[in-house]
């Protein structure tokens, strides 16, 4: 049966360095949960702690109510898919898939049936008697998945399973993974550094950086309402403008760009964060921030502009062709407009959201 995973104040130390620093997460039964972050952020370390390959130095991990800190990996009933597939190269596809059923005392007709079903589910039944070296990367990935789910694990763990596939296959596989996960209803923890993949596949995402969770939430929440500068920067693209808040006036470079009441009526230095598609370009806009177009890149459905502002900062702005017909020329004078519902405002160090 699918189980909840509770991670309570978990820490992993390598000498002074804290690879995982006091992390707490609740992963619901049947949820597709992704750990997303740059390399070295601790996401794989945390996953391997759940799997039992890394010891837990502090804190507890529970499957439902059961503390599993001291349970060896082979007793956790976890299905795991590794980055490099970790298919046993000396066993055939079928033997690979059947491997985990032997210690579970599944034999005879039942074993045949479960192995065949798993292979059919992953569409690798026609390769049953082949050795892994005769399979393509995508097929090997399917074998790894079949092997992980055939044991009906309580939890499925995936460590960057798609990173070795080419771009097209990656999109195809992530759809099959998502379908598989939904049809089995199995709690899944997925690790990736690819934000697009995370947004596409997850029910919820935890963004990690330097051993800490920066934000947890649904994909669209994380994209629309980042908690801090790191998340805003890591997910999608964001432009940052230094400013101050006086009363309800948000002032950037001496111009009042919008009116917004901040949390606890915060006053003082702030950081305004805006995504390229949420910045509006106007040819003339008195009393606003202005600059010149330095690069215009035509990308089909939209144009990406780099605007050199008068104070020397650079802004990225996207204009969609569906709404606009003309393309601004390089060197053209241009002004930008920010809308209060489409920006995020952080403290000046970028660490907390003020709106």
């Amino acid at each position: 049966m699918s189980q909840r995973v509770l991670i309570e104040s978990v820490t992993k130390e390598y000498g002074e360095f804290k690879a995982v620093n006091d992390i707490s997460l609740e992963i619901e039964s049947g949820e597709f949960f992704t750990l997303l972050g740059p390399s070295g952020c601790g996401k794989t370390t945390l996953l391997r702690m759940i799997a039992g390959f890394n010891e837990i130095d502090k804190g507890e991990i529970k499957f439902d109510e059961r503390i599993i800190n001291n349970l060896p990996p082979q007793k956790r009933n976890i299905g795991m898919v590794f980055q490099n597939y970790a298919i046993f190269p000396h066993l055939t596809v079928k033997e690979n898939v059947a491997y985990g059923l032997k210690p579970r005392k599944v034999k005879g007709a039942e074993l045949e049936e479960r192995v065949t079903n798993a292979m059919k589910l992953m569409q690798i039944d026609q390769y049953a008697d082949r050795l892994p070296s005769k399979l393509s990367g995508g097929q090997q990935q399917r074998v790894a998945l079949a092997r992980a789910v055939v044991i009906t694990p309580d939890i499925l763990l995936m460590d960057e399973p798609l990173s070795n596939l080419d771009a097209k296959l990656r999109v195809e596989m992530r759809t099959s993974i998502k379908k598989l996960q939904k049809s089995l209803g199995i709690t899944t923890v997925y690790v990736t550094h690819d934000q697009e993949e995370a947004l596409a596949i997850s029910d919820r995402i935890a963004i990690m950086n330097q051993g800490k969770v920066m934000q947890t939430g649904k994909p669209e929440t994380i994209y629309r309402k980042p908690n801090n500068r790191f998340v805003a920067d890591f997910i999608g693209t964001s432009c940052f403008l230094k400013g101050v808040c006086k009363g309800e006036d948000i002032i950037v470079n001496g111009k009042v760009v919008m009116q917004k009441r901040l949390r606890d009526n915060y006053q003082g230095e702030i950081l305004v964060s805006a995504r390229p598609e949420n910045i509006i370009l106007k040819e003339e806009l008195p009393d606003h921030l202005c600059g010149t177009v330095s690069i215009a890149t035509f990308l089909g459905d939209y144009v990406n502009y780099e605007v050199l502002m008068d104070d020397g900062e650079t802004l990225q702005v996207n204009e969609y062709m569906a709404q606009k017909l003309n393309i601004h020329e390089v060197g053209q004078r241009i002004c930008v407009k920010l809308e209060k519902d489409r920006v995020s405002i952080f403290s000046s160090n970028g660490e907390e959201a003020l709106d």
């Binding site: 039992g52 795991m80 970790a86 298919i87 210690p103």
Partner: protein, 549 residues
């Protein structure tokens, strides 16, 4: 909380404890005993007298200088021959590469001092070639002494350089050399500025092996050295000498030679430190197509060297079929020598294969377990085991033999004169080959394969047996072949440890030659050569062309 995984315990803790006891008992303890002995005076007190004696008397310290001179010269020559040969065979389309490789491995795996013995039969005072040259009036200097040792060492040991460097040259990314040519440095200059520097660590490793093997060799200088004495000979004489020999002095000499080889090892490690380059192998090096006359020339040149290397073996095989009358060779061919061997020395033959076989099994098991501990269970203990098990690498066979005798010649554990002590010596001395290759392959096996097995519910030791050990086999076998072949040919430790019942083929060759039984000696040596060839052929068949080293 720290010691959470109980499974980690059961299996591997037991293994580590067992290996640790083995290492203490058969390596640390004997060598410590020897070290203590070397400081013992005639009255049993502690003294430096043995060491003073060595450094005071020219007769003794000269042997050390002699050893260094002849070994360094042999190393340089082996490099001068081995590196170009490796380059030519790996980069040009010369004919018969497989044959050349095979012949080179065979010349490396020749039975002990057969090289010296054959060269004496060919070029010695009464040698075959010498006699022919004398007939037509050409005389040349003696091949005994320094020159002879150098000749034999070089021709026997250049194969190490050749095999190591060929391997390394084959794993250079071709684009590096192309980049150099693209930037305007080509030909010989490219060779010295890009290609050789990249394989320098390998060149130096092979040089180390050549030097160590030469330093430990005892049969060659004994036969062909005549007045030119090297350290291992004095050790042997002092230990087994009928007149004025002294065990404590032999111990001191042994300690000195071990210190010297350790020093050389340290220097070599120092030099190649930080020089191991990892290259992304995108394109393997290209084999250059030579024009016909160039191809003939290159093949001929390489073949000449190869032929010189296997000439001793060919000589021995031919000699083994020459008719004999007592110790004298007479005209015509016969199987006399083999008949004699079968009648007198069948026990030696059985012993050789029996002991080597048992040693091989122990080595394979030990190497797989040790490799796993060293690679996957990194700790202070595993580093210690790694160091201790590689230590015999710097100990000459005769020294190892002496240390085992000193350690196990009295109760509670009397092993001297038994088969076990021979097997122990073989295991300790030849394990490093198998251990290195096992460690090598284990580094290539991704740990996630094992983790996949654990997470599927399979216990640690079952995973080790069904997955890890199974995947390690090809790498283990390539080292095991080397271990086995050099075990059946092992002389220096056998000579120290054998008793009448446990004598091996190589011991018999030694005593036959000492008694002028050249025919039987040659027949025995031919049998060893044949075994070596058979083992290598089987290996080649099984490994589809993987390199032996």
């Amino acid at each position: 909380m720290k010691k959470s995984f109980r499974e980690k315990f059961d299996f591997w803790v037991i293994v580590i404890v067992c290996v640790f006891i083995f290492a203490l008992l058969f390596i640390v303890y004997p060598f410590s005993r020897m070290l203590i002995q070397s400081f013992q005076g005639k009255d049993g007190g502690i003294t430096f007298a043995n060491y003073f004696k060595f450094f005071e008397k020219r007769y003794y310290y000269r042997t050390l200088l002699n050893s260094f001179k002849v070994c360094s010269a042999a190393t340089v020559l082996a490099l001068c021959i081995g590196v170009p040969m490796a380059y030519i065979t790996s980069r040009f389309n010369i004919w018969g590469k497989k044959m050349i490789n095979m012949a080179i491995v065979i010349s490396l795996m020749s039975p002990p001092f057969i090289g010296a013995y054959s060269w004496i039969m060919l070029l010695g005072r009464n040698g075959f070639i010498t006699n022919i040259l004398n007939l037509i009036g050409i005389r040349f200097g003696s091949i005994y002494g320094f020159k002879g040792i150098l000749l034999v060492f070089t021709l026997k040991l250049y194969p190490y350089v050749y095999l190591y460097v060929s391997g390394a040259l084959g794993s250079i990314d071709a684009s590096l050399e192309e980049a150099s040519e693209n930037l305007g440095i080509a030909g010989m200059e490219r060779l010295f500025r890009v290609t050789f520097p990249l394989v320098l660590p390998t060149i130096l490793s092979s040089a180390l092996i050549v030097f160590m093997t030469a330093l430990a060799d005892y049969g060659t200088p004994l036969l062909i050295g005549e007045g030119y004495k090297v350290l291992p000979i004095v050790i042997y004489e002092e230990y087994l000498g009928e007149v004025g020999g002294s065990v404590t002095f032999a111990s001191a000499l042994s300690v000195i030679i071990v210190l010297c080889s350790s020093l050389v090892l340290l220097i070599q490690k120092r030099v190649i430190e930080n020089k191991n380059y990892t290259m992304s192998m995108l394109r393997p090096p290209q084999v250059k197509q030579l024009k016909n006359w160039q191809r003939v020339l290159a093949t001929a040149g390489v073949s000449c060297v190869v032929l010189l290397g296997v000439l001793p073996q060919i000589t021995v095989v031919v000699v083994s079929f020459i008719k004999t009358n007592g110790p004298m060779f007479v005209k015509g061919f016969s199987l006399n020598s083999y008949r004699n061997v079968m009648v007198k020395l069948s026990r030696n033959i059985v012993n050789t294969y029996l002991y080597s076989g048992i040693a091989l099994i122990i080595m394979v098991v030990l190497a797989i377990l040790l490799a796993y501990i060293i690679v996957r269970k990194k700790s202070k203990m595993s580093a210690f085991l790694d160091f201790v098990m590689m230590f015999p690498y710097v100990i000459p066979g005769s020294v190892l033999g002496i240390s085992l005798i000193i350690a196990f010649n009295k109760s509670p554990l009397i092993l001297t004169g038994t088969a076990s002590i021979m097997i122990v010596a073989y295991v300790i001395r030849k394990l490093p080959h198998t251990l290195r290759s096992s460690i090598g392959i284990l580094y290539q096996i991704d740990p996630s394969v094992e983790e996949a097995s654990y997470s599927l519910g399979v216990s640690q030791h079952k995973t080790f047996l069904n997955i890890t050990a199974r995947l390690m086999i090809p790498g283990v076998m390539s080292g095991a072949v080397l271990s086995f072949v050099s075990t059946i040919n092992e002389l220096s430790s056998s000579l120290m440890l054998y008793s009448g019942r446990t004598a091996t083929i190589s011991v018999a060759i030694f005593s036959e030659i000492a008694r002028d039984g050249y025919g039987t000696g040659a027949a025995l040596a031919s049998m060893l050569t044949l075994s070596t060839v058979v083992v290598l052929l089987i290996f080649n068949k099984v490994s589809d062309g993987r390199s032996i080293i």
